[in-house]
Symmetry: C2
Subunit: 323 residues, 2 copies
């Protein structure tokens, strides 16, 4: 192949429980030049090898070397690049993924929380452009959040900020897989939407879901989304209840942060307008003192499922330039 002129390139990764996504990112525009996806299973050393292989593929495809690597990971990741807590990546706990990838790749590596990184990507190149104070909420299997305050990404004392899915909203509520009772994530994640849909189907209030999924136990949030597209009334009722739960947590974060904007991303953002409008309607109702403050606007993320990897690449670029 013909080598094209090389500009500084970054590799951004979003490492989830089952898959790793790799992007080649042009740092000044956030443009994604190439993307690929592969399995992430097998524990630390296997993941290091996988990351290196994916970087090599990106470099081969584009014909130039990456200058830095950013890894976005769901969980508590220290600034030194070790994953300290991650329900989704149990094999990686206490594994120094950052230093290991850096040693093997010989380029600078930055590891950050995926939602924190996603917030930064949306701030720079997505729905948060021009907003100095906003909340990013990624709704997926769980809930991740990131915060931009006064134009700066909030990372916390250890890089652990933004674990709002673990905020308890119902202290005597149901037990969650984290061991907590009633955390926001229990009520407002994609997992929760699936549970709500199965409960509705069980009580005869989501026949469409059974039709789509085959049986009650197979219903997930995707079937609610599918039924919403054809204006199924049961799906609308289930989803309205879900949006209330999403807005409950956002209302808490809004009294704490006073954001001008809430950017909703993650896999569930693909539902689009019903999610935006439903969450906005409930937030308007639930936010205390709402009549005395400018409306907190709910909007959809613009970078979709790329945001975590783009943000990780941006954080790597900033570490490189000493920002």
């Amino acid at each position: 192949m013909t080598a094209i002129p090389c500009v500084p390139m970054l590799a951004g990764f979003d490492i989830g429980g089952t898959n790793a996504r790799a992007l080649l990112v042009e740092p000044s525009t956030g443009q994604v030049l190439h993307s690929s996806r592969d399995g992430s299973a097998g524990g630390g050393p296997a993941l290091v090898a996988k990351v290196l292989e994916m970087v090599a593929n990106l470099e081969r495809t584009y014909g130039c070397r990456v200058e830095a690597i950013g890894l976005g990971v769901a969980g508590l990741v220290s600034r030194s690049g070790t994953i300290h807590y991650s329900p989704n990546l149990p094999d990686l706990i206490e594994f120094p993924i950052g230093p290991e990838v850096e040693a093997a790749s010989r380029v600078p590596v930055v590891v950050g929380n995926d939602a924190t990184a996603g917030a930064w990507a949306e701030a720079k190149f997505g729905a948060g452009r021009g907003a100095d104070d906003f909340i990013y909420v990624a709704l997926g299997t769980g809930i991740g959040t990131g915060f931009v305050a006064d134009g700066r990404l909030m990372t916390g004392a250890n890089g652990f900020a933004g674990e709002s899915g673990h905020m308890v909203v119902d202290m005597d509520g149901p037990a969650h897989r984290t061991g907590q009772r009633g955390p926001w994530e229990y009520f407002a994640s994609g997992t929760a939407l699936g549970r709500m849909a199965r409960e509705a189907a069980q009580s005869g209030a989501f026949a469409k879901g059974i039709k789509l999924a085959g049986d009650v136990a197979s219903i997930t949030g995707y079937h609610v989304a599918e039924a919403l597209v054809v204006d199924n009334a049961d799906a609308s009722a289930i989803f309205d209840g879900f949006c209330r739960e999403v807005a409950r947590g956002i209302a808490n974060l809004a009294v704490i942060f006073d954001p001008q904007l809430v950017v909703v991303g993650g896999g569930l953002a693909e539902i689009g307008t019903p999610l935006k409008d439903g969450t906005q309607r409930w937030l308007d109702r639930l936010l205390l003192g709402g009549e005395h403050r400018p409306r907190v606007e709910v909007t959809l993320a613009e970078l979709g499922s790329d945001s975590g990897a783009i943000g990780a690449a941006l954080l790597a670029a900033e570490a490189l330039s000493g920002d």
Copy 2:
């Protein structure tokens, strides 16, 4: 009286529902040179007159003019100096206290939330010195909070950040005076401590409180504090339950912010070590992933009830210097 040489002086106010506290503050050290206290009732124009009178008294006592005035107020205060929402100061809602005091005093005036200002005072001259990421929690009649992230005071898009007392922790819980169900403030304010003590006394588990207060209905949080001093076992049990509620909200804020430190202030901080130790013990238990992160330390505020007024004066000084 003899005029002493004038250095730049600031007047800082903490305006509560019943009283206003005025301090003369030396801005580079935070030293309080003089303080006074007066009633705050009577609505906007009366409060403006009162503030001017108190400033004149400070100036007369110290023999030089103040350069700027900072007003710390419990509630949502916009950057332009208007109080938009305040359950404790209903007569002042939508009153432009900042511009009115500025017009009458002819010195720059900054108005801010009292707990936000208190956090900044603790950051500069109190228990938060040297901590880049900490949470300030003022426990009084209600709960106020302020946040320092990466060394900067978080104020939010409109200056409304830090209203964490309104964070819902029990969504099906009891109705609060704000109209919300189960906000943190309902469970963990001084008002809540009084209610818990009366409930205990009613069920025969706080005889000492009845003895101190005269009857069940007259028991307040102060009687719990008084009984703690003499190691009353009932008071210890009540207070342990109270510390759990305080720690519940702090645990939520800790997963959101990732602070290194929690500074507990407000009137209840006068209880001292039992509050610090009880909150720390419960926070250690309640904070998710606690075994995977550095301990979030609980400490007592150092500036006591002066923090809001000192912080307001500091914010005024910074506005003056264009920081």
